[in-house]
């Protein structure tokens, strides 16, 4: 058998192969490299925080080179704050890719879709490659697409919940209707759930907590990478039909009961 290779996808004019996007949160710094090497993503997310001068460590020193950094705007509660965070990230010299997160709801950490849409408009106007994280809603996703979002990142379940692809039916619609890639973000707890997202036609998945909270995070990162790959290949191979019993009452027998006068 020929070895399989990823079929590429494009975001912001750049080509990517791995359809697993890894988050870098919740790890002790020395472990991150091992996790990222095991999961082998092309894109890794980062956050921005106030830092103290003392004991300042550069997370990028702990990450393998050659990845695309995807800073998020976590902490932003308004579109304007998201724009400020994005601009700060840009000054750090890691490119124009931004995962937009605008969250007001403190209990479930659900994205504020309305403000996120607002943020997409601001960031796109400012030249960013905007990837909005959102609660799956096709109608607002269309508006984000219209506003120039490079991809849409609907959540599979509340962030950090490891509950899986609980929003699958809504995401299915988004995959079918949107022209931009759909990247399932947040909530995926198991490799099988990531696999399912790819089987459904999601462009990629983004995982953080599921790997970070595993007993062995590097091994789990690798498991996700394999699952994502299997899902993508299954999607490309075309899933076979699920058989259903066919009722027998004839709806089309009338064609034969009377001759077709037009023949």
């Amino acid at each position: 058998m020929t070895p399989v290779t990823w079929d590429p996808f494009f975001l912001g004019g750049r080509q990517f192969h791995s359809r697993l996007i890894l988050g870098s949160g919740k790890y002790p710094l020395p472990q991150i490299r091992e996790v990222v090497e095991a999961g082998s993503p092309d894109i890794v997310t980062l956050a921005l925080r106030r830092v103290n001068a003392l004991g300042q460590a550069n997370i990028l020193d702990y990450l393998p080179e050659g990845k695309t950094w995807l800073p998020n705007t976590s902490g932003a509660q308004t579109a304007q704050e998201a724009l400020t965070l994005a601009r700060l990230a840009r000054e750090l010299g890691c490119g124009d890719f931004i995962k937009i997160e605008v969250i007001v709801d403190a209990k479930y950490l659900l994205p504020d879709n309305e403000r996120t849409l607002e943020a997409v408009k601001l960031l796109v106007a400012d030249g960013f490659v905007a990837l909005p994280y959102m609660t799956p809603d096709l109608v607002i996703a269309r508006k984000m697409e219209q506003a120039g979002a490079a991809a849409i990142m609907p959540l599979g379940a509340p962030i950090g919940s490891n509950k899986g692809l609980t929003t699958r039916e809504l995401i299915r619609l988004m995959i079918a209707e949107l022209k931009v890639p759909v990247i399932v973000d947040a909530g995926l707890g198991r490799p099988s759930q990531a696999c399912e997202a790819l089987e459904m036609g999601a462009c990629a998945v983004m995982v953080n907590t599921a790997v970070a909270t595993a007993e062995n995070p590097p091994a789990m990162a690798r498991a996700f990478a394999l699952a994502v790959r299997a899902g993508r290949e299954a999607y490309l191979a075309g899933l076979g039909p699920v058989s259903e019993a066919t009722a027998s009452s004839p709806l089309t027998g009338f064609l034969k009961s009377e001759p077709d006068p037009t023949l």
Binding site: G23, S24, G25, K26, Y27, L29, I32, T45, L46, A47, L48, R49, R50, V51, N52, A53, L54, Q56, N58, I59, L60, W69, P71, N72, S74, T84, R87, L88, A89, E91, L92, G93, C94, I159, A186, M206, N208, T209
Partner: protein
Amino acid sequence: MIVNGQTIKLDKTRPLSEVLALCGYDQALVAVLVNDQVAPRNQFALLAIQDSDDLEVVAFVGGG
């Protein structure tokens, strides 16, 4: 001046790059908000900081 919420006395007006160095930051690794405005990296050496300014110094950390 205020740096990340802490009041620090600035003896005189100094360029941002100098202020960052005085506070112990490696300026290559941080981005700065000066009075809620993003300071462009190429302006670090020029931007004059006064004792009345409010600075937010941020850097990349792990995140999802």
